[in-house]
């Protein structure tokens, strides 16, 4: 009976059980490491999307999706019908490539699926891969690390890739933030909290139950907490509603002090009057989202409330939401009134928001709007400004320059596979929630408390992959907070 649980364990990524900083993971079911998969082509207008796997179960994954066919010849493209291994439902007719290790990108067995780029197909293939035993979504930078471990990268390549990984990690973090925003995020955090507490109490019972007087019923309490979690997770996973629809595309957020012309810029870029524009500061109070095509890239443009303090509660909430959006943005358009750069609101925006985002290496374009109000075109707005673009939303002067700059930035953002469609994040999400639920099921089946605790540890690792955290110290803190233990 335990055999099954430990294949589940295989799907839980390791590492976060101690410290959240660890990134590589996975106890695999076969061979020497877990098999990972990821979408490795960027989003944007592409006809073909490439999905890649690496690890010993790659060949198994390929065969599962192309059953009952044999492996194609190594390193040559073959056309195969992909279907879901469980339902048998056809997914796509795709080119598949089989790279047996060590002659592959990572040095491990690798498979590439070149599928038709539509979101439904990509999502279907990713989900099918996630259901193959021994496979799990890759963590940020994991392909690279494997390549390095197998001596497939030169020193210079590693140097260059470090920056890519940084971007990849950041993009995944932002993606996860978007996903965890709102109700679902609160749910996940409350699950993780309950689970950590249950685990802490079981651990306390193991480490201190014998000698110290823990209160009666510690285990029973943990049992009922786990039972509650099982019910709640199960209900969530079976809920057909998918919550808010997550839109594909680069998240571009327009920000700035009140009345700088953010809404005008949004209207200009989306070529329709999406936002109400008025000369009154604080007109926009909520976040408005518009899917647009920006310089050929799919983007989700967000208009936000002007950042200022000390206004009414509704606008304050708008400001809070605006700041939250900035955290999640792939690219930020910071808008200032070119004719009003000396005003306190402009200065404070530059000193705090722009400087801070710059320090966090967020992608940002500084746009000085209302250039038509400047005394003369030759005169710059000020000597001490960071790199910026001049624009007049009214006369459209400077629009070409802005689109050019946007194109450059978006090419980088969209070329990065990890900013990929939210369905990738969603696949990860379901993978870990299901893993958590399965492990909890095993908690109840065992009488050996050490084994039971291990099931809870695995379940917690799955959840903390979504919420972060998960160190041993957290558990110890709860133990010493809740119990008077020790001699």
């Amino acid at each position: 009976m335990w055999r099954e649980l430990w294949t589940l364990a295989a799907r839980a990524a390791r590492g976060s059980c101690r410290l959240c900083t660890r990134q590589s993971s996975g106890a695999p079911a076969f061979g020497s490491g877990a098999t990972i998969f990821a979408l490795s082509s960027g989003q944007g207008r592409c006809g073909i999307a490439v999905i890649r796997t690496s690890g010993p179960a790659s060949s198994h994954a390929l065969q599962s999706l192309t059953a009952p066919r044999d492996l194609p010849p190594a390193r040559s493209a073959s056309l195969r019908l992909l279907s879901d291994p469980h339902t048998g439902e056809p997914l796509d007719r795709a080119l598949v490539l089989w790279f047996p290790g060590p002659q592959s990108f990572t040095g491990e067995d690798c498979v590439e699926f070149h599928v038709h780029g539509g979101p439904a197909v990509v999502s279907g293939v990713l989900q099918a891969l996630g259901s193959v035993p021994g496979l799990r979504p890759a963590e940020a930078g994991e392909f690279t690390r494997r390549a390095f471990a197998h001596g497939k990268l030169s020193l210079t390549e590693v140097e260059g890739l470090a920056d890519l990984i940084h971007a990849e990690t950041e993009a995944q973090r932002r993606q996860a933030l978007r996903q965890l925003d709102g109700e679902l995020g609160q749910l996940c955090h409350s699950w993780a909290e309950t689970l950590t507490k249950a685990l802490a109490h079981v651990e306390a019972y193991i480490d201190f139950g014998e000698d110290d007087n823990l209160e009666e019923g510690v285990l029973e309490q943990a049992d009922s907490q786990v039972q509650g979690l099982v019910v709640s997770l199960d209900a969530h996973l079976r809920d057909a509603r998918r919550g808010q629809r997550l839109r594909s595309g680069a998240h571009v957020v327009v920000t700035g002090p009140p009345n700088a012309g953010k809404s005008s810029l949004v209207n200009l870029l989306s070529q329709k009057p999406v936002s109400i524009v008025s000369p009154e500061p604080g007109t926009t109070r909520d976040v408005l989202e518009i899917p647009v095509d920006l310089a050929g890239f799919p983007a989700l443009l967000s208009d936000t409330a002007g950042l200022r303090e000390g206004v009414g509660p509704v606008e304050q909430e708008g400001v809070r939401r605006a700041r939250e959006r900035l955290e999640q943005a792939d690219l930020i358009l910071a808008v200032l009134d070119a004719s009003d750069l000396a005003s306190p609101s402009s200065c404070s925006f530059l000193d705090t928001v722009v400087a801070l985002l710059g320090a966090q290496s967020q992608r940002l374009l500084l746009v000085l709007n209302k250039s038509d109000l400047l005394p003369s075109a030759g005169l710059g707005p000020g000597p001490n400004l960071p790199p910026h673009l001049l624009l007049s939303c009214l006369t459209r002067e400077g629009l070409d320059g802005l689109l050019e700059a946007l194109k450059k930035e978006l090419a980088v953002v969209c070329g990065d596979p990890s900013t990929g469609p939210p369905l990738l994040t969603r696949a990860r999400h379901r993978h870990h929630l299901q893993g958590c639920l399965d492990a909890l099921g095993h908690y109840k089946q065992t009488r050996d408390l050490a084994l039971a605790a291990e099931a809870l540890r695995i379940a917690r690792r799955h959840l903390t992959h979504l919420t972060g955290g998960g160190g041993t110290e957290e558990v110890l803190d709860i133990i010493f907070r809740d119990f008077c233990v020790g001699k």
Binding site: W2, G26, A450
Partner: protein, 692 residues
């Protein structure tokens, strides 16, 4: 002179020649009477004795320096060894042929395995120990260890020399200076000074300098270490009063009798010295609101409790229990101090009130109404050195060939001290013979978890071992410590006797053989049910069931199984330990196979070594934040695995560090070093292959 370039930003000291009798100078000028040893161990506590004995076992001429020979092996706090997590450490110390487990088995007066019903992975071997016997037996062992010399003397200073260029560190230790001014030269020095560094004993409002009740603290040494630039912190701990046995009314208290049979601590012992029927009982009593009242009304007389120095959360004084968990009743275990001791140790009553109030408090407790206190409880405050300043071999980053072990590193407990002692002793010796260090990974043992936690995360309270700190708890069990560590100890460190090695080898091959036999026996579930009617074997599956799977049922043991299939299994029941271990292996079989995969992934990161001389503060072309640089600079992680466990070190930073791994790999490739053998895993690999 040598350069201080790498001495770090915290080091603002000026070492002058006064403190640095350089090797070149002092060797020449050293009088012929100045003795020279391979390894000098300072301190005769639990870390010191293990360190000295381990170094000697590894073949080093070793000197143990202690204030008083008659306090060697003193158990200065509780009269017991082992427990949950701690018992695991003792098994591992024993697997490396350490002393404490064997000495305990000669001196135990009440054996009890904790967590009996919670699964063998978390069993806690524990025993009450006769203090006098333990001390006697330990002294006999230490004074009769070949290559080990014992001398009385207080160390006041270190002799420093120029560093070896091929290692990091700003200088090298080459000996010690004693209080009387005499010197002893050494290739390696291990400091195991416990609570003696600026030790301060506190009872009520009185404070006086002492390392332990009645012993002088080490002040000069503390100053030397601070001058060298070690970051020093302060911790506190405490111990309960002692009570005269004949003044306790045991008849009204709950009695706890020892296990029968006793489970020995040491792998080499079949039985323990004092028979279960001759062992002593423990008694349980509880505090009550009157105790709380005395504590709360006298907080103003209790400077130890008011201090801000961090004390252990899990070994709290009665004062902190009352303060943090008011209106509760707390347990007090009355433990014997020895066969012919007339003292009782009230476990759970650690207190620093003025002595007369302690006595008053004791007399409020049931069974202790007429109790006489023979020695008051007291608090100890002492210096410890931030353990992020040492490597996993326990050598300091700052001073080459200087090792720290035990409470000086911020741990608490005899077992934690002993575990570090063994590792320091082995490594001090290996360093002398220029062999690679002996490092236990956190995938291999509790010792590894302990040392990795200390060296990568540091600690701000006295660190104690818990099983909850251990990721691979189901694989790192008390029963299999020998198969995890004995072979490595024998081959890599040379600290394991031939006899123990052979015993472990026999056990290992018997286990492997037994497991493969158990796998080969297959019957239908209905046949098993007929053979073993006592077991609730599920007949739902039609597939044949292996004997190994039947053994997984809680109610089945080897005895029962051998009755069902005597011809092939009888022989495995002859040795009690073997039969029990087969049962445990069966229980965790499938789990362990999968944990092994995780272990391999961790080990892959541990194999990626960072250059030891990397200057994190100045390396260019690497986007590391200042915060990350500071952290890496201070802890100096030796591998990518260790670096990734430091909080705040991001995945991107790790990728950035990977490029430096190459440098080390290239260097090592040039040196054509052999990889470390990892017997335990390698052999388990074989097991798996066979299975597949």
């Amino acid at each position: 002179m040598f350069s201080f370039r790498r001495c770090g930003h915290r080091v603002a000291i000026s070492l002058t020649k006064q403190y640095l009798p350089f090797a070149g100078l002092s060797r020449d000028s050293a009088a012929p009477c100045s003795p020279h040893f391979d390894v000098v161990v300072v301190g005769g506590g639990h870390a010191g004795t293990e360190a000295a004995a381990a170094a000697a076992r590894c073949g080093s001429r070793t000197l143990l320096l202690t204030h008083r020979v008659d306090t060697i092996g003193q158990m200065s706090c509780n009269p017991s060894f082992g427990g949950i997590g701690k018992g695991h450490l003792m098994r591992e110390v024993d697997a490396l042929d350490g002393l404490c487990s064997r000495i305990c088995d000669q001196s135990g007066v009440h054996y009890k395995v904790l967590n009996r019903r919670k699964g063998p992975a978390v069993w806690g071997l524990r025993a009450q120990i006769d203090r006098k016997l333990y001390k006697q037996n330990m002294q006999k062992e230490i004074l009769n260890t070949p290559l080990l010399t014992v001398r009385e003397g207080a160390v006041e200073d270190l002799i420093l020399a120029e560093p070896e260029p091929e290692h990091t560190g700003k200088c090298r230790v080459s000996g010690v200076v004693l209080v009387d001014g005499s010197t002893v030269y050494a290739e390696s020095v291990i400091l195991t000074t416990g609570t003696f560094l600026r030790g301060m004993i506190v009872i009520g409002l009185e404070m006086h300098p002492a390392g332990r009740l009645g012993d002088q603290p080490s002040m000069g040494l503390a100053q030397t270490l601070e001058r060298l630039g070690f970051v020093v912190g302060r911790l506190k701990t405490g111990t309960p009063p002692r009570i005269a046995k004949e003044t306790i009314n045991f008849s009204i208290l709950n009695k706890q009798t020892p296990d029968n049979p006793s489970i020995p601590f040491s792998f080499v012992n079949e039985t323990v010295w004092i028979k279960p029927e001759d062992q002593l009982p423990c008694y349980l009593t509880h505090t009550n609101p009157r105790v709380d009242k005395i504590v709360l009304e006298n907080l103003h007389l209790n400077s130890h409790v008011k201090e801000t120095t961090r004390g252990p959360r899990y070994c709290p004084s009665i004062e902190s229990k009352v303060l943090r968990f008011p209106n509760r009743v707390h347990q007090v275990w009355l433990e014997p101090e020895g066969m012919d001791s007339d003292l009782i140790y009230p476990q759970g009553l650690s207190v620093t009130l003025p002595a007369e109030l302690q006595e008053k408090m004791i007399m409020c407790i049931r069974g202790l109404e007429n109790a006489k206190m023979t020695q008051p409880g007291y608090g100890v405050q002492y210096d410890y050195l931030d353990p992020r300043q040492i490597t996993p071999s326990l050598e300091t980053h700052l001073v080459q060939r200087l090792f720290f072990a035990g409470q000086i590193n911020g741990t608490t407990g005899y077992e934690e001290a002993a575990a570090q002692g063994v590792i320091a002793g082995i490594n001090a010796s290996l360093r002398v013979s220029r062999k690679p260090p002996f490092i236990v990974s956190r995938t291999e043992g509790y010792i590894g978890v302990l040392i990795d936690d200390l060296t990568t995360l540091g600690t701000c309270e006295p660190y104690r071992m818990f099983t909850s700190r251990v990721e691979f708890r189901l694989s790192l069990r008390p029963d299999n410590a020998d198969s995890r560590l004995t072979f490595r100890g024998y081959k890599e460190a040379g600290c394991v006797s031939q006899q123990r090695y052979e015993r472990a080898s026999w056990m290992k091959s018997s286990l492997e053989e037994g497991i493969s036999v158990l796998k080969s026996i297959e019957f239908s579930s209905s046949k098993w049910k007929k053979l073993i009617p006592q077991a609730s074997i599920s007949t739902a599956r039609s597939l044949p069931v292996r004997a190994l799977d039947v053994l997984k049922y809680e109610e089945v043991d080897m005895e029962l199984l051998a009755k069902a299939v005597p011809e092939s299994l009888k022989k495995y029941t002859k040795c009690r330990e073997l039969a029990e271990r087969l049962k445990i292996e069966a229980t965790y079989e499938s789990v362990v196979i999968h944990q092994l995969q995780e272990i391999k992934e961790v080990q892959r990161d541990e194999a990626l070594q960072l250059p030891k001389d990397l200057d994190y503060l100045t390396i260019r072309d690497v986007s590391l934040s200042h915060e990350v640089r500071e952290k890496l600079h201070f802890s100096r992680p030796q591998t990518i695995g260790a670096a990734s466990r430091i909080p705040g070190v991001t995945p991107a930073a790790i990728i950035n560090l990977l490029r430096f791994v190459k440098t080390t790999q290239q260097r090592q490739g040039a040196m054509n070093k052999l990889p470390q053998t990892d017997e335990y895993l390698r052999d388990t690999d074989k097991l798996q292959e066979r299975e597949l």
